[in-house]
């Protein structure tokens, strides 16, 4: 596929993907990063408020897709239940803000911690399952979550079917910007931090242990990797990050209700991961952009057939780049280097 990869690593794009093993030519990587960061900082100054909101949502879903990527691309476990953790995070933030009056920024670490604990615990029964069976178990979680949130017992806190209205924060220190714009920068900062932490996590000892489990569980355990610890840990971390995304989502949308977090959300996050490239972290945000914008585009082409056009566009993407945005990035890199040499 790419001649560049061949020199340093056996280009094995077929595997769930090699996260750490992508020694992109420095020049291209650096340029891409600089351009992206500048574009992200300047973008809100140039577009309407609604587009700023959409970009914010892209980043929030991007964080959630990233979390799934750590789980699937990193440790090789498959989950259709991410929407449940997203919901848990959203509700934790929402309830803390509305019932306890805690500052929105402070609710995020708590949402993350709660989801980490939930994910870690869920990881234990999940240890016994793999592949399709794990998919079904996580799927059960995704289906159960909206129903649990509607239960009368929790209604005092969750607001039942009606949901909770969350106040949108103003810009602090009297900064002259709209709420949407402030939220954009706030989310951008958190995205940046989470992204860096995730990249470092996967490069660390724990990350390597997870990838060893993904590639060959038995060999990994023979090498002394504690399989159950790292598998449950991967679940916990993934759930925790998803929880933070959920909290941010609640703040951005200003509303949490059980039916916003159905199984469809889990499917959307999954599609985001595939479109972005399984195991390639920057792709998470490309995938998130796909799940935020493409349904709108499809709706724009035809109202009645929006589902069909969404499906067709999805097919087009997976035909062109079966390995997701990662493949696109490799093409771009090859092109860049050709241009530079000529």
């Amino acid at each position: 596929m790419s001649t560049l990869d061949d020199t340093s690593t056996p280009a094995k794009v077929d595997a769930p993907a090699a996260i750490a093993a992508k020694p992109a030519s420095l020049a291209f990587g650096r340029w891409a990063t600089i351009v992206t960061i500048i574009a992200l900082i300047v973008a809100p100054l140039l577009v309407r408020n609604f587009v700023i909101f959409q970009l914010t949502m892209v980043m929030i879903y991007g964080i959630a897709v990233l979390a799934l990527n750590i789980l699937t691309g990193g440790s090789g476990q498959f989950s259709l239940g991410q929407s449940a953790f997203y919901a848990l995070g959203a509700y934790t933030s929402g309830i803390l803000m509305e019932h306890f009056g805690i500052n929105y920024a402070l609710t995020l670490p708590i949402a993350g911690a709660v989801c980490f604990a939930a994910g870690f615990l869920f990881g234990f029964p999940a240890l016994r399952l793999s592949g399709i069976y794990l998919a079904l178990a996580t799927f059960a979680l995704a289906v159960a979550m909206p129903q649990l949130l509607k239960l009368g017992v929790f209604e005092e806190w969750t607001g039942g079917v009606q949901g909770l209205v969350v106040t949108k924060p103003d810009a602090p220190f009297g900064l002259p910007m709209s709420q949407d714009m402030w939220l954009y920068y706030f989310v951008l900062l958190i995205t940046f931090v989470i992204y860096l932490l995730s990249v470092n996590l996967l490069k660390s000892r724990s990350g390597r242990a997870m990838m060893a489990i993904r590639d060959n569980e038995i060999a990994a355990s023979a090498m002394g990797v504690d399989i159950s610890l790292y598998k449950t840990l991967a679940f916990g971390i993934s759930a925790g990050i998803t929880g933070v995304a959920g909290g941010l989502g609640a703040i951005a949308v200003q509303f949490v209700a059980p039916d916003s977090y159905t199984f469809q959300l889990a499917i959307a996050l999954f599609l985001g991961m595939v479109v972005g490239g399984v195991g390639w972290l920057p792709g998470s945000f490309a995938g998130a952009a796909f799940i935020v914008f493409v349904p709108n585009i499809a709706e724009g082409i035809s109202k009645g057939l929006s589902g069909a056009f969404f499906g067709v566009l999805l097919f087009v993407v997976i035909y062109l780049v079966p390995h997701g945005a990662r493949q696109g990035a490799i093409y771009a890199e090859t092109l860049f280097n050709k241009l530079r040499r000529s």
Binding site: A135, L136, Q147, I267, F270, G307, F309, L314, F315, P322
Partner: protein
């Protein structure tokens, strides 16, 4: 006690629906090694075709046979056109393809036949069976057809050359190719058969759940659960799983206090997960031995 027996009967009746669907899911799983998320939508589309033919005045059984033939051809065509190019792509990309197919079929069916609920005729009649209010003759017919289908499939896979070739192509594609089996066409054949079985399931289910583009949503979930519970490698397990899920669901709804319709599905799924944790390959599944 009578309540208990009645609930079990009702469970078997709904279980038959899930069993049909689970059987179709397992069929395609055996042929292509993936769970096809679009299976339910394919079945729904076939059912609509049958309905349309009946509306045009084709007799019931004629429409039934025609639908099976068209669905079979449709399944083969979908595989050849849409999924063959993805054969080398990663598994998860294939799953995304199924989701895309789901969206397309659902949306097109909605456009052609709109979203109003339609009645679907039954050849078995809908009077109470043996005086029981809970189970109708249609449901008994449905159970009969499911079991008949199961036997036919068993014979097909066990005793015909082509059945053996299909099993070989699914289990060990490379070795199968070496002994001269055209594995590509075996996969297409699997899709065709799954589409046809799905069509039978859809036509049998439609009189009970009514016909509309989203009719398969719930059924597919239970069908998946049933297939996984029974073990994805075993058609018999799938049917057993279907009945078990149906009975589970009814008993939970009746005996556990505070469980409305809303919580039936999560509880049924939780039970299934519990079963899986104890027996990770499902009730009737074979343990796959992995080489290191």
């Amino acid at each position: 006690m009578e309540l208990f027996v009645n609930q079990i009967l009702a469970g078997i009746a709904t279980g038959a629906i899930y069993a049909c669907m689970a059987l179709a899911i397992v069929m395609i799983f055996q042929a292509i090694d993936h769970l096809n998320f679009a299976q339910g939508e394919m079945a729904m589309f076939s059912t609509f075709m049958a309905w349309q033919m009946i509306q045009w005045g084709v007799p019931y059984w004629g429409a039934f046979i025609l639908t099976l033939i068209i669905s079979f051809a449709g399944g083969v065509i979908i595989e050849r056109v849409l999924f063959k190019p993805l054969a080398k792509a990663p598994v998860l990309t294939n799953v995304a393809g199924f989701i895309a197919l789901f969206a397309i079929i659902n949306s097109v069916a909605g456009l052609i036949w709109d979203f109003t609920i339609k009645q679907f005729p039954t050849p078995f009649g809908s009077s109470p069976f043996l005086g029981s209010q809970l189970i109708s003759t249609h449901q008994v017919g449905m159970i009969g057809v499911t079991l008949g289908l199961l036997v036919a499939l068993f014979l097909f896979f066990r005793y015909t050359r082509i059945g053996l070739a299909m099993r070989a192509a699914a289990a060990m594609p490379e070795s199968a190719r070496l002994v001269g089996i055209n594995t590509g066409w075996m996969v297409a054949l699997g899709w065709g058969m799954a589409a046809a079985i799905g069509a039978i399931a859809g036509i049998l289910i439609a009189p009970v759940v009514f016909l509309e583009p989203n009719m398969m949503g719930g059924v597919l979930l239970y069908g998946f659960a049933a297939a996984v519970l029974g073990g994805l490698s075993s058609p018999f397990g799938a049917v057993l799983g279907g009945f078990l899920v149906g009975i589970f669901e009814n008993l939970v709804g009746t005996y556990v206090p505070g469980v409305g319709n809303e919580l039936k599905l999560p509880i049924a799924l939780a039970l299934i997960v519990t079963v899986l944790v104890v027996k990770p390959t499902g009730l009737m599944g074979h343990t796959v031995v992995k080489r290191v």
